[in-house]
C-alpha cells in the first residue's frame, strides 16, 4: 500500500512540475507529460521501474475514455454528414501509408507478412496526442481540425478489421500456441474467432439500444450524483472489458458505447462526469509513454531507431500533405493537418503486442518499432511548435475565427433550465417562433417523454457549473431559469452572475422572497410565476361583474406595474430590515404595506386621457349654454 502511495506521489509530482513548466515554455501539456514520464522512467532516473508497463496498460484506459467522449460527440447523423471526408481522407490515408510503409519494410528486408502488419500499424496516428494538441491550440473547428478528426475517426474504425484480419496473416498453428489467456475466444479456430468478433458488435449495439438508457434512467432517478458518475464509469469499463475479452481493443468498445449514447438525453451529464477521469488518465498515459522510452535500446541501435522514426514521420507527413493538396486544403491548414497526424498511434502498442501474440512479428523486431512510435509521439508537439513559430508565420494565420458558427451549431443562443409546466410553455413558444433552445432538465421521466415528442432536451442538474458550460453558457445570449425549485433558480443565477456575466438571465420566482433574492443578485428580469395568471382571473371576474372588459384590462396592467415597482422598492429596503431572517413575517408585512397603499384608491382604474369628467366640469363652468 505504501508503495502505491509512493508511486502516486512520484507521478503526481512529475506531472505538477513538468506540465506547468512545459506550458510556460510554450511546449504544451503533452510534451510536458512525456518529458515527465521520460524523467521518472526506468531508463532515466528510475523512480518507477518495470511496473511502468502495467501503468501503461492502465493508462491506455485514458485513451478508451477519450474515445468514449469522442463517440458521445458523434451521433450517427453527424457521422453520416462527415462520411465523405472520413472515407476520402481517412481511407486513402490508411491505404496509402500502409502501402508505402510495407514497401519500405520489404525493401529493407522484412518478410512480406511482417511488412504488411507494420505498414498497417504505422498507418494509424495518435488520437490522444493529435486531439489534445488540436484542442489546446484551438484548431478543432477549422479545416485542419475537422479533417484531422475525420482521419483519426477512420483510423479508430479501421482498427476493427485490422484486429480481425491480423490473425489471418499468421500461420494458424502459431496463433493458437500464443493464445492469450485473457481472451474468451482464444484457442478456437480462426473462423470461430472472426464470427465471435462480429457477434460481439451485435451484442454491443443491442445492449446499447435496449439496456443502457433504461438503466441510466433508473440511476438518474435516485438523484444521487456520485451514483451516476459510478454508473458512467461502470459503463465505460464494462464496454472496454467486454471488447478486451472478445480479443479487441478496449478503446473500440468504449467508442461504440459512446456513439450509442450520443443521441441520448444523458449525453451532457455523461460528458461532464467522465471528463476529469479522461484528463487524469490521458496525462498518465502520456507519462507512461514517456517512461517506456527505452534509452538503453535506443542507445544500442541509434541508427535503426532514428531511421524508423524518420521514415514513420516523413512518410506520414508526405501522404497527409499530398492528400491535403488533392482535397484542396489551404497551405496553413494542410501543414497543421499533416504534422499533427505524423506519428505512430497508441493502437500501435496494442497491434504490435497482438501481432507478437499471433506470431506475425517477433519480440526482437517489435521492440525498436515500439520505441520509435513513442519517440514519434514525442516529436509531434515539437514539430507543431516549430510550425507555429517558424513556418506558419510565413504562410498565414489558420482560420480559427471564421468557422465559429460550426462550433455552436447545436448550442442555441437560448438555454432553458427546467422544463416543467413553466419552462415547457416558454420552450414551445420559442420553438414555434424559430428559436431552438437548449433545454436542461433533471427529471428523467419527463426528459424521456419530451424526447419522444421530438424535442432536444438534455438530462442534467442545471445548478452544476460544468453542465452549464457544456450546454453553451459561455456562448448563449439568454438563459431562462424555469426550475420548479426557486432555490435552484437562485443558485444558478448566482453561478451565472459570477462565471458568465454577459449572459442575460430571465428567472422565474415563486414568491416575493425569491424575487428579492434574485433582484439582489442583480437579475433584472424576474417573473413571479402566478402574477400574470392571477391578474387574468381578476380581469375576467371584474368583466363578469359587469365592468367594461377594456377597463378591467387596463386596471390589471396598472396594478401589475405598481406591484412590480413596489417589489423593486421593497427589495431595496430589505437590506435595512433587522428582521431579515423572519421571512414569513416579512412577506406579510410587505403585503400589508402594498395593500394598504392600494386601499387609498377606491374606484376602478381610470385612464385620465379618455375620461371627459374634468373637461365637462370646465366646459359647464366657463362656457355656459
Amino acid at each position: 500500500m505504501s508503495d502505491f502511495y509512493f508511486q502516486a506521489i512520484v507521478y503526481l509530482i512529475a506531472a505538477v512540475i513538468s506540465v506547468p513548466l512545459a506550458k510556460k515554455l510554450g511546449l504544451g501539456s503533452v510534451l510536458g507529460y512525456l518529458l515527465a514520464g521520460a524523467a521518472i522512467g526506468p531508463f532515466a532516473f528510475g523512480f518507477i521501474g518495470s511496473e511502468g508497463e502495467d501503468i501503461m496498460h492502465f493508462a491506455e484506459f485514458g485513451v478508451a475514455i477519450m474515445l468514449f467522449l469522442v463517440g458521445l460527440e458523434l451521433d450517427l447523423s453527424r457521422l453520416w454528414k462527415m462520411r465523405n471526408s472520413i472515407l476520402g481522407f481517412g481511407g486513402t490515408q490508411v491505404i496509402a501509408t500502409a502501402a508505402l510503409i510495407t514497401l519500405i519494410a520489404s525493401v529493407v528486408g522484412v518478410d512480406l507478412k511482417s511488412s504488411i502488419a507494420i505498414g498497417f500499424t504505422f498507418s494509424l496516428s495518435s488520437t490522444a496526442i493529435a486531439l489534445q494538441i488540436l484542442n489546446e491550440k484551438g484548431y478543432m473547428t477549422n479545416d485542419a481540425g475537422v479533417k484531422s478528426f475525420s482521419v483519426l475517426l477512420f483510423q479508430d474504425i479501421a482498427v476493427i478489421p485490422m484486429l480481425a484480419l491480423f490473425p489471418l496473416l499468421a500461420t494458424i498453428g502459431v496463433a493458437s500456441n500464443h493464445s492469450s489467456s485473457a481472451s474468451w475466444i482464444a484457442g478456437y479456430p480462426i473462423w470461430v474467432q472472426t464470427m465471435a468478433l462480429f457477434a460481439s458488435f451485435g451484442i454491443m449495439v443491442t445492449a446499447g439500444r435496449f439496456l443502457l438508457r433504461p438503466i441510466l434512467r433508473i440511476v438518474a432517478k435516485t438523484e444521487i450524483r456520485e451514483l451516476f458518475t459510478a454508473a458512467a464509469l461502470l459503463l465505460v469499463i464494462a464496454s472496454a472489458v467486454f471488447m478486451t475479452k472478445m480479443g479487441l481493443s478496449p478503446a473500440l468498445g468504449t467508442f461504440m458505447a459512446g456513439i450509442l449514447l450520443a443521441g441520448s438525453e444523458y449525453r451532457h451529464e455523461l460528458e461532464s462526469d467522465i471528463e476529469p477521469f479522461k484528463g487524469l488518465l490521458l496525462g498518465l498515459f502520456f507519462i507512461a509513454v514517456g517512461a517506456s522510452l527505452n534509452f538503453q535500446l535506443i542507445g544500442e541501435n541509434p541508427g535503426t531507431v532514428a531511421s524508423i522514426v524518420f521514415a514513420l514521420i516523413f512518410v506520414k507527413f508526405i501522404v497527409m500533405f499530398s492528400l491535403g493538396r488533392i482535397f484542396k486544403m489551404s497551405y496553413d491548414n494542410n501543414i497543421i493537418f499533416s504534422s499533427v497526424l505524423a506519428q505512430g498511434g497508441e493502437f500501435a502498442f496494442v497491434l504490435f503486442s497482438f501481432s507478437v501474440q499471433n506470431g506475425i512479428l517477433d519480440q526482437a523486431t517489435v521492440a525498436p518499432l515500439i520505441a520509435s512510435v513513442a519517440i514519434s509521439m514525442a516529436f509531434t508537439p515539437i514539430i507543431m511548435l516549430f510550425n507555429e513559430r517558424v513556418i506558419l508565420p510565413y504562410i498565414g494565420v489558420p482560420e480559427t475565427q471564421k468557422r465559429e458558427a460550426d462550433k455552436i451549431e447545436e448550442k442555441g443562443s437560448v438555454i432553458i433550465a427546467g422544463f416543467g409546466s413553466f419552462g415547457n410553455i416558454i420552450g414551445r413558444f420559442l420553438r414555434a417562433n424559430g428559436v431552438l433552445p437548449t433545454v436542461l432538465d433533471n427529471d428523467p421521466d419527463r426528459v424521456d417523454l419530451l424526447r419522444k415528442l421530438g424535442l432536444k432536451v438534455y438530462y442534467g442538474d442545471a445548478t452544476r457549473l460544468d453542465l452549464l458550460k457544456k450546454a453553451g453558457a459561455a456562448k448563449a445570449r439568454i438563459i431562462i431559469l424555469a426550475m420548479d425549485d426557486p432555490e435552484k433558480n437562485i443558485e444558478i443565477a448566482g453561478h451565472i452572475k459570477k462565471h458568465f456575466p454577459k449572459l442575460t438571465i430571465l428567472s422565474r420566482a415563486l414568491h416575493r422572497p425569491d424575487a428579492y433574492k434574485l433582484l439582489e443578485l442583480g437579475v433584472k428580469h424576474v417573473y413571479r410565476h402566478t402574477l400574470d395568471t392571477s391578474l387574468r382571473v381578476g380581469v375576467d371576474a371584474l368583466t363578469l361583474l359587469g365592468n367594461r372588459g377594456f377597463q378591467a384590462h387596463r386596471a390589471a396592467q396598472s396594478f401589475r406595474n405598481r406591484d412590480e415597482s413596489a417589489l423593486r422598492d421593497l427589495s431595496k429596503l430589505k437590506h435595512d430590515s433587522k428582521d431579515y431572517l423572519n421571512q414569513a413575517r416579512q412577506v406579510i408585512r410587505d403585503l400589508e404595506k402594498v395593500m394598504l397603499k392600494e386601499a387609498e384608491t377606491k374606484d376602478l382604474f381610470k385612464d385620465i386621457g379618455w375620461d371627459s369628467e374634468s373637461l365637462r366640469v370646465d366646459v359647464l363652468k366657463n362656457y355656459p349654454k
Partner: protein, 199 residues
C-alpha cells in the same frame, strides 16, 4: 332593408352618458349588428378573419366612436390597419367591400359652430373626416356624410335621452333604406343629424 353593421369603439364607455344611452338595447334591433370592439378585444388581439366575415355579411357599415383629438380611438385605427388587408379590401384584387356603403357616427364635446373654418376647431367635420372618406373610397365603398352629436358635455339628462332616441330612429331608417341622404345633405351637408342644435 339592408343589414347594418355598427363597429363601435369607445375605450371609456363607463364615463360616457350619451354613448351608453345610445347603445342601450341596440342589440335587440332586427337587422342591426352591434359590434363592440373594446369589449371584444380588450387586449387588442383582433380576430381578422372573423371581422372580415362580419363585413361580408353586411351591406351598410357604420363606424361609431367619440371624436378624440379629431380622430378615432386607437383600437379602431388598429382595426382598420389589420382588417382592411391589401388584396382583400383594396388593391388590384381587393374587391370584397366594393359597392358597400359606409359612414361615421360621432359624438363630440364641441358644438357644431366650433367645427367651422372660422370656428374654434378651424375645420369642418367633413374636412376632418377626409381620412375615413378616402379609406372608404379606396375600398370602393360609398361614404356618406357623418351623423354627429355635438356638444355632448352640455347635454342635460333629458336631452341625452332625446338624442339617443333620434339615433335609434336614424339607424332603423338606414336599415329600412327610408333615410334620404341627398335631401338631408341639402339641409346640412355637414351633419345627417338634422335638427341638431346648430348654435
Amino acid at each position: 332593408m339592408q343589414k347594418v353593421l355598427i363597429i363601435f369603439a369607445h375605450p371609456a364607455l363607463q364615463g360616457s352618458r350619451i354613448n351608453r344611452s345610445m347603445i342601450e338595447g341596440i342589440e335587440r334591433l332586427k337587422g342591426i349588428t352591434f359590434h363592440d370592439l373594446y369589449e371584444l378585444y380588450p387586449r387588442s388581439d383582433i380576430d381578422i378573419k372573423h371581422e372580415q366575415k362580419l363585413l361580408l355579411e353586411h351591406q351598410f357599415i357604420i363606424f361609431q366612436h367619440p371624436f378624440y383629438w379629431y380622430s378615432m380611438p386607437p383600437l379602431l385605427k388598429e382595426w382598420i390597419d389589420l382588417v382592411l388587408e391589401h388584396g382583400w379590401a383594396y388593391g388590384s384584387t381587393g374587391k370584397s367591400l366594393a359597392g358597400k356603403k359606409a359612414m361615421s357616427i360621432i359624438t363630440t364635446g364641441g358644438k357644431q359652430v366650433s367645427y367651422q373654418n372660422d370656428g374654434f376647431n378651424r375645420y369642418t367635420m367633413t374636412q376632418l373626416l377626409a381620412p375615413m372618406d378616402q379609406t372608404a373610397f379606396l375600398c370602393k365603398m360609398e361614404y356618406f356624410p357623418p351623423y354627429v352629436i355635438h356638444g355632448t358635455h352640455q347635454l342635460s339628462d333629458e336631452e341625452v335621452q332625446i338624442e339617443a332616441e333620434k339615433y335609434k330612429t336614424f339607424i332603423q331608417n338606414v336599415r329600412d333604406q327610408t333615410f334620404n341622404f341627398t335631401t338631408a345633405a341639402k339641409v346640412n351637408p355637414e351633419n345627417m343629424n338634422q335638427n341638431s342644435r346648430k348654435k
